[in-house]
Amino acid sequence: MEKFTTLDGIVAPLDRPNVDTDAIIPKQFLKSIHRTGFGPNLFDEWRYLDRGEPGMDNRTRQPNPEFVLNLSRYQDAGILLGRENFGCGSSREHAVWALLDYGFRAVIAPSFADIFFNNCFKNGVLPLVLEAGAINKLFAAVEATPGFRMTIDLPAQEIHTPEQEIIPFEVDAFRKDCLIRGLDDIALTLEHAAAIRAFEAQRRLDAPWLYDNSTE
């Protein structure tokens, strides 16, 4: 996983609540057996006027001129600003892969759906929760200022805006550490292999029916 320390990027505003993972990456693109290549189809149904299918050349498709990511001022955005319950719906990690593949390393919203929130951390994408007032201010600032960019300083847990404003944020200590160091959490868990084995041995004694007849 790529490390995340500080990120400086253009901010793109997606001003709707309950953005679901079906909207982030529609199901026809979930047939891939790889983790990359989803970026061109991020928000496919909002982003293009025609219907997207896997294998199409997206450069020949008709972009929706009204969709926010198609506006020239948000080209190369690296930070996505969203509303409540961002990432709700299916567990598909493809949603995070698509955001990452497009170039987003951070999503800021007043709240996230749990599974999406988790999936972000596993892929080096920072999901940041700010309270609704701060989010409203950011939406206003982004819309008022073409090319609006900010810096997210994860070690210091601060966002720095062009107006020299500093917005502090909360992040879970363990997840923060994994992001900053780019850690593979499977390797971390396997450091506890002996404890897992001991637990399993006890469980076999306490609940033998879970072992004697399980899909074996």
Partner: protein, 470 residues
């Protein structure tokens, strides 16, 4: 000291370690796997030179991509085919039990787990699929995970988790005839909102929940994720135990009594405290129909399409305007005036035998209305299909003009060939009415199986409380 909730008990009995910040390592008993969210996990496992920790905790099945017609001919779409073949190969390579596409036990992962007795009370059950919450109906801690977590469970039999808060939703009273588990859960989501359960594990309780069959309980727990909670659960009682008795992967005679004794402990203590409690009058519920593009956009069938301008919250109001535009609906329209042109009876929410029985009862001897261009019944599993055929339900459906299909996810998410075209309007027993969910530009109204069937026959939504029982 106050007692423990069911969730507390399940959490504690699987806890391997926990640090001061509450980051915990949780042991996983059952891992269900399907073709869409697993290929990258197996690939990651191989790249790291790892193997599954406990192969026999895994049960795999292809369901999202499989065709629902002429299965012997294989999968026409080459990309879908590769995904299903990749699952087959991964299962063969690692020695994982898989019900492959032509196996009569194949079906939607959340239907076959319980049907096989592979989901048991007291288990932690995970799957790379958000509707894993379904399995909580058995007094299990069951929740959906992402692909990286699938890989993590494969490699370690554990997950890194933080404990959620406890919520209890009590539904009291007695449901009116024609009102089902689906209506209960839609009404709950309408009440607490699609983010209302975020950060919580939800326990459903109260007389209405206790009176539900296991099929009904699974329908309720299935849609917990639509209320924002990863896990929903219901305490164990005789209904749970009777359902499990004799299932292929349920405990055999040598451990049955011991297991049942342990399972009876899987209820919240009488003095357990919850961080949030929600109470609903089940007796006051009407059949529910969604009008928008989020499951919380739901209203009783005898209600009207709401007016966004009456909504105070500006973000919400804007969301309602967008939803009505997408759904092509006018505020103030009676729900019963909405005319679907497609009907889909299926999905992990409502494709079990009881669902098919309830739907069939609404249409027996009648024909699908002329305005309905397609009406599909897609059983949840091969065994549900067999059972329905043994009861003659397939003939009730086909005589009425429904298509009777092979099991799979089908038009719930339209990854296979079954999908809506732009502008199509569907009465669907599935769980998500998101934009494009059933096909790009398709419009979905979530309803119960009986409501979908009644809409198929009438050509518009009907309040089945008025017709139920003749």
């Amino acid at each position: 000291m106050s007692g423990k909730t069911l969730y507390d008990k399940l959490w504690q009995s699987h806890l391997i370690r926990e640090d001061e910040a509450g980051t915990a390592l949780l042991y996983i008993d059952r891992h269900l796997v399907h073709e869409v969210t697993s290929p990258q996990a197996f690939e990651g496992l191989r790249l790291a030179g790892r193997t599954p920790w406990r192969t026999h905790s895994i049960l795999a099945v292809p369901d999202h991509n499989v065709p629902t017609t002429n299965r012997a001919a294989g999968i026409a779409d080459p990309i879908s085919r590769i995904q299903v073949e990749t699952l087959d190969r991964n299962c063969t390579d690692f020695g994982i039990t898989e019900f492959s596409m032509l196996d009569e036990r194949q079906g939607i992962v959340h239907v076959i787990g319980p049907e096989q007795g592979a989901t048991l009370p007291g288990m932690t059950v995970v799957c790379g699929d958000s509707h894993t919450s379904t399995h909580g109906a058995f007094g299990a801690l069951a929740f959906g995970i992402g692909t990286s977590e699938v890989e993590h469970v494969l490699a370690t039999q554990c997950l890194i988790q933080k404990k959620s808060s406890n919520m209890q939703i009590r539904v009291y009273g007695k449901l009116a005839t024609g009102v089902s588990a689906k209506d209960v859960v839609l009404a709950i989501i309408g009440e607490i909102g699609t983010a209302g359960g975020t950060g919580y594990a939800i326990e459903f309780a109260g007389p209405v929940i206790e009176a539900l069959t296991m099929e009904g309980r699974m329908t309720v727990c299935n849609m917990t994720i639509e209320a924002g909670a990863r896990a929903g659960m219901i305490g164990v009682d005789d209904t749970t135990i009777d359902y499990l008795s004799g299932r292929p992967y349920a405990p055999g005679a040598d451990h049955w009594e011991q297991a049942v004794a342990a399972w009876h402990e899987l209820v919240s203590d009488a003095d357990a405290g919850f961080d949030r409690e929600v109470i609903l009058d089940g007796g006051a519920l009407a059949p529910q129909v969604t009008w928008g593009t989020s499951p919380e956009m739901v209203t009783p069938v005898d209600g009207l399409v709401p007016d966004p301008d009456a909504e105070q919250d500006l973000v919400k109001r804007d969301g309602m305007h967008k939803a009505l535009e997408y759904m092509d609906l006018q505020p103030g329209t009676p729900m019963t005036a909405i005319r679907p042109d497609h009907v889909f009876i299926g999905s992990c929410t409502n494709a079990r035998i009881e669902d098919l029985r309830e739907a069939a009862a609404e249409i027996r001897g009648q024909m699908v209305a002329p305005g309905i261009r397609q009406a599909l019944v897609v059983p949840g599993s091969g065994l549900v299909k067999q059972q329905a055929e043994a009861e003659g339900l397939d003939r009730v459906f086909t005589a009425a003009g429904f298509e009777w299909r092979e099991p799979g996810c089908s038009m719930c998410l339209a990854m296979n060939a079954d999908r809506l075209e732009p502008g199509d309007r569907c009465a669907s027993t599935s769980n998500r009415n998101f934009e494009g969910r059933q096909g790009p530009g398709g419009r979905t109204h979530l309803v119960s199986p009986a409501m979908a069937a009644a809409a198929a026959v009438a050509g518009h939504f009907v309040d089945i409380r008025k017709t139920a029982g003749g």
